[in-house]
Symmetry: C2
Subunit: 766 residues, 2 copies
């Protein structure tokens, strides 16, 4: 055992105070320091909380405080097991930040009472770390993303160290397992550092953990193999564990600084051996040892709050009192309810307190992007549909210049598909990031690259979230189908943003921008597994004030949309665009106007003169192509039929304004789609969504939607629209069918034409 | 270097044949053995394929063939990089299985021509391994699940070894990274074995890989730490690599058999050190070394087919010819196009050929479950809403007996939540499975447990998929919100099933059954991150003949639904049910009838006598509770208003029959919902879905849907329905509002009542 660190007893007292408060929040609605004997009526009617990891989290917090005091370093605290929020709240309260953000929770008995009462109570604070929690960018509700958030936060923040407590249950998840490898992308000269603190308490909800049952030597090999230097701190004796953790933290800190300094002095030539800490302390440490003859401390049974029935069970009430009293709250706080001065002195000061970290309130650090004029990248369009370009290829040049002008606060995150999605122009100004051995044959690969490519959608998303939440900008590029891997993460980020927006002290952050390419209609080669537009469906269910969905029909609209998204704040923006050569429809001026409106009539593709027999709506590049072609076929073969084409670039404009701020008002909706005429709508994704969006609009049953019907294989791009009954011929046939009801005198001609178009389809199919 | 293995030259020739065919499929539509000089017109108009990993896959396949010949062992081949399907197809063709499944692809020149032509062509075979591929249970389109499928397939198949080729790009994904730990759940006495063959070719789409740039010693530590015994085979000299791999496979095989035998003889006391192979061969090995001065072999540039423009570029045509000729096809096949006899002798015979493995056509091994009579677990219901039970708690007893009666072909997979979801009765007959150190304090934990708990939704899903696809039955239990982690996996499995059903030789397999509990309306304690009903939205977009969605309103209906799902085949069944105490509505007889119909009028909760002013529809347990309560409130306070309650247990019955086989016909729909009267529908999930489902029904605009609106926090269960405007009071108010249009003479009373109910809500909120 190492010799005592200085002030060890004071630190243990501080820890006792944190443990006390972490537990007290579960139970007490009065008598917060147990100044009078505990009675049932002091207890909350509903006792809830997660105890198991709390003492471990408190230990780490307290010893980090000590390290910060010694070093004045900027630390960000990431709580993997976010369910143990009462521990974090306890520390925030003790260091004083909580009372600064929430003055009604004052540093006295009244404040303490409120503090305990609000926890996990209706109208109070949630049971998990949340956007309401000062110092936090990570909720830890859906487990698995703590390390990713930590790495994202320190990219391009050379001064910052993110201390990430990873729990051993969390470590069993896929995203967490992948994220250890993030050190292959961490540049010690340019980025900050992550200090993983792997908390192996050998408990999860109702069993032990894989790592809990591994030997130290095996855990050491596992992490050494990946390139870490693991430092072990294990035990259940407070003095020993505090001391060893204190020493380990100092050692880790020194190693981090040494790595960084060497990199700055000598350049980055290989992957440094970053320190990490493996912390083995008992689940529910210092809690009740046994209840009703069943072992609690040191087992998964500590996971939730022990003694939940203390209000009804006098024996458990006794146990609870003696457990809480074991921390001696009366010695830690003075009578007014204030933490003892010699203890509060242990916490860092000002913005060095982890609850006050500006990195955890990203908007406070956010610097606007310097954006090039996107119109300079336009493709010339003299006449709609006369020229061809590759939308993402052109966009690549714009993004190249965004990267060039913003060399320290913008990155692109992509699961190994930047080239495949034809954004290759970005490699004119930067590289893929890789901080390990590189070879002469490597293609644009270096330790200072700003294109973050790892074959893990989860890592890309988690890094980007951390990067945004700590005040920077970014873009995630993916094949459309595999974005569904991110359904739950995107959903959780949207949830975080929803709450974030409601908190006055949370400053707006850059939006999370998705560019999905190689989409369902143009994965004719990779086949059925690669054809999935379901990510739209996930996002659209999120709060309307958070999500935006764009389906630019061509290159110039894509440029305009991207510029708009990069300027926006606090949203999740989804852009779906193609990489394959496609027709250009709008010149820059028209594109800009179209995007500003979100949806417009394309008069040049229509012949209705204000009186359509059929309205052809479309959203998405391939649906637009088929729709314009269908309109052209109809105008050529059936000029008597009056066709109007409406293109939608901002999907949410379809929605009634009550459901989404972009929703167009009824007048405009009728201007576009009339109130009575049949509408045939070709949609990029699953058709059901459009049915919902137009619910509540006049006469919704006249809308007939075509889209992806889960048909596909390795085939041609045109066959994809045929298989899903969205080809120009299908649209033309359906348009005639729906229109004929209104123009019975054209029936014969219409029916003949249907036969003609059906023959066209048959020719293709055979 | 080890001494030569026997027949090394023949094996290399066989490998050449496989490499030749793997490449030929990309390019040739004629002249499949290059018997005449290669001309542009021999080439396909569209040249596509993934080359990089193919020679490595062929190497593994050939050497496994050799091992099978020596041992007569049952091997299942899992192709992680499924994009390299041309390699697998080549081997299937060479071993003869392909021609048995697809007789038109005969073992002669005509067959060979067709074989090459069909590859990645419209109407031909997909570019990825798929359900069409004999011997396959794994597509490898969305990367990350190969090892999980392998483990799932060998659980309870003691005689089987799954050889899983994991690619190094794939190894960067979260699910794959987590799945190495599956050995903690593999029982050597009861299960088969997985032999991971980690193919480190240092290439992915457009860059190197993390593992590609790690030192052997680091990779060794990484895997040793987890408990593997890694065997390295590295090089680019065919003779050396074939020999070393042959030796390594024999060694691995011997170790596996030894582990298994010891376990059978002495019991399972600790986690065995399972062998695995790390195979380092160059990306695009034996392919073109350089094209246009750029290095190809040994770099990520081999990933796709090199020389894609050989049709237009004469120089590339030359290169292509000399590359293909380098395998000397003319020496490997006879003039009739048949593989040389001495080579075809190398392949195993009959069902030992990996393409003929019965384990890869799970339905052929499937044994029906022996199911207890679910009605025996019923809760007594004399009168609706008079008693209370915990649906999943009761279901646990039924599942306990399913486990008891099916001790070798049914398992439950759950991310650490079996107890939390109150299925604890299952632990009366089995344990959690864990094949590593256990402690005396552990709760129902043993190496022969049949409850597969790991804190990874991905692992649970992947294991279950492998278990089902190889012919067994199972259930995945999860918190509802975190099922979204599985959106993409579930989606891919549904895609696999869609194709599977279309293939005559694929025998029906057991359905993938989800039981989601701790759902959105009852996660009032864990809060907003735990509230997400989005998994329904993902499944509903899949093919109607594959997916089924059940929302049983109470315990007896849950029992009936589960029995039904466990008997079904080739579906993905989603069941959402609660664990908290809730009112019982239907006795067993009624429940069974209700489930058979999918949706019924609840006359006992209605007062309409066939003439409703308002129809209250509901789907989901909490929506049903609020709906019945609303109906009761209305009947009490407003008996003049005629209310009809319709409950939907099988969600897809709402859909028109054209979209889903369960969709009810128009007559029945009108019987339930009338054709004209307003409907207020309380739904478990996001309301948009119901709007879509009823699209096409008479007068859809009269449907008003309430559901989850992304509002929530840590609060009470009742507050959840209030926040989302689906409480009984909200429903009663809205019911009156919508109904009043049809009964203007009741306006005054109705408006007064609205004020009364609004006051109730206000009382709750303040
Ligand atoms: C992805 C995910 N799956 C399941 C859960 C449900 N859950 C909440 S806490 C918990 C156990 C956590 O154990 P561990 O990560 O070790 O935390 P600690 O022991 O530090 O409390 C589980 C399974 C979750 N929160 N997230
Ligand atoms: C989850 C997922 N993300 C992205 C892709 C797109 N993709 C297809 S192949 C590939 C590279 C695969 O590299 P590796 O796994 O090493 O395969 P190999 O080198 O054996 O071809 C990528 C990124 C995918 N198929 N799946
Ligand atoms: Mg734990
Ligand atoms: Mg590879």
């Amino acid at each position: 055992m190492a010799p005592d660190i200085e002030n060890i007893d004071l630190h243990i007292d501080y820890w006792n105070a944190a443990n006390y408060l972490a537990a007290a929040q579960f139970y007490l609605k009065e008598n917060p320091l147990l100044l009078v004997p505990l009675r049932p009526e002091h207890l909350k009617p509903r006792i809830r909380g997660h105890w198991g990891s709390a003492p471990g989290l408190n230990l780490v917090y307290v010893q980090l405080n000590r390290l910060i005091q010694k070093t004045n370093a900027q630390f960000l605290f990431i709580t993997g097991p976010g369910h143990c929020s009462s521990a974090i709240l306890a520390n925030l309260y003790l260091e004083g930040t909580y009372s600064e953000f929430y003055p009604e929770i004052s540093q006295d008995l009244d404040g303490l009472t409120l503090f305990c009462r609000q926890f996990s109570s209706p109208g109070g604070v949630p049971s998990h770390v949340s956007a309401m929690t000062p110092g936090s960018i990570h909720e830890g509700g859906e487990l698995g993303y703590s390390l990713l958030h930590a790495f994202g936060a320190v990219f391009d923040h050379p001064e910052l160290i993110a201390a990430a407590v990873v729990s051993d249950g969390e470590a069993e998840t896929g995203p967490l397992a992948a994220s250890w490898q993030s050190i292959n992308f961490l540049n010690p000269a340019r980025d900050g550092a992550v200090l993983p603190i792997f908390h192996v308490n050998d408990g999860k909800l109702s069993g032990p953990t894989i790592f809990g049952r591994m030997e130290d030597k095996d855990i050491a090999m596992f992490f050494s193999g990946m390139g870490y230097e693991p430092l072990f701190v294990c035990g259940n004796d407070p003095r020993q564990v505090h001391t060893e953790l204190g020493v380990a933290l100092e050692k880790a800190y020194a190693t981090i600084r040494q790595i960084q300094q060497e990199a700055k002095e000598k350049g980055v030539h290989s992957k440094p051996r970053w320190p990490m800490i493996v912390l083995r302390t008992p689940d529910g440490w210092t809690g009740p040892k046994e209840v009703d003859g069943v072992k609690i401390e040191g087992t998964y049974r500590s996971h939730r709050s022990p003694l939940m029935d203390a209000r009804e069970n006098p024996e458990h009430l006794k146990l609870l009192e003696s457990w809480l009293k074991s921390y001696h709250p009366e010695k830690l706080f003075d009578e007014s309810g204030k933490l003892r001065k010699d203890l509060s002195n242990l916490a860092p000061k000002g913005s060095l307190r982890m609850g006050a970290s500006p990195y955890a309130n990203g908007g406070s650090l956010l610097v606007d992007l310097v954006l090039p004029d996107y119109t300079e990248y336009q493709v010339g369009v003299k006449q709609p549909g006369n020229t061809v370009s590759e939308p993402t290829h052109v966009l690549g040049k714009y993004l190249r210049d965004v990267l060039r002008r913003n060399p320290t606060n913008f990155r692109i995150f992509c699961p190994d598909e930047t080239d495949s999605n034809r954004l290759s122009a970005v490699f004119e100004v930067t590289n893929r990031c890789f901080v390990a051995r590189t070879n002469p044959d490597d293609d644009h690969l270096s330790a200072d690259g700003r294109i973050m490519e790892i074959l893990s959608e989860h890592c890309c998303q988690g890094w980007l979230e951390g990067y945004l939440l700590s005040g920077r900008h970014g873009l995630l590029v993916s094949y459309e189908a595999f974005a569904m891997i991110l359904d739950s993460m995107a959903s959780q980020h949207a949830k975080w943003l929803k709450l974030y927006r409601e908190i006055p002290w949370r400053k707006p952050i850059a939006s999370l921008n998705y560019l999905l390419s190689s989409h369902v209609w143009r994965q004719e080669y990779d086949g059925y597994t690669h054809q999935g537009p379901g990510f739209i469906d996930t996002l659209i269910n999120k709060k309307g004030n958070v999500i935006r969905i764009y389906l630019p029909p061509d290159t110039n609209t894509l440029l305009s949309v991207m510029d708009h998204c990069l300027r926006s704040r606090n949203y999740v923006n989804l852009i779906i665009a193609e990489k394959q050569p496609a027709l250009n429809w709008l010149n820059m001026e028209e594109a800009r106007a179209h995007c500003a409106r979100g949806a417009s009539i394309w008069t040049w593709a229509s012949n209705d003169e204000g009186n359509p027999n059929i309205i052809l709506g479309c959203a998405g590049d391939v649906p637009t192509l088929e729709t314009v072609a269908a309109s052209w076929l109809l105008q050529k073969h059936f000029p008597e039929l009056k066709v109007k084409v409406v293109n939608v670039v901002d999907l949410m404009t379809l929605s009634p304004p009550a459901y989404h701020p972009h929703g167009m008002d009824e007048q405009r909706f009728i201007h576009l789609f009339s109130a009575t005429q049949p509408v045939l709508f070709a949609f990029h994704g699953y058709p059901r969504m459009v049915h919902d969006l137009i619910h509540g609009r006049p006469n919704p049953a006249r809308f007939h939607v075509r889209g992806y019907q889960e048909e596909g294989t390795t085939t041609t791009s045109f066959d994809m629209v045929v298989l899903n009954k969205m080809s120009r011929y299908h649209l033309a046939i359906d348009a005639i069918k729906y229109a004929l009801k209104g123009v019975p005198h054209l029936r014969t001609k219409g029916e003949n034409l249907i036969v003609f178009f059906e023959r066209k389809i048959a020719e293709h199919t055979t």
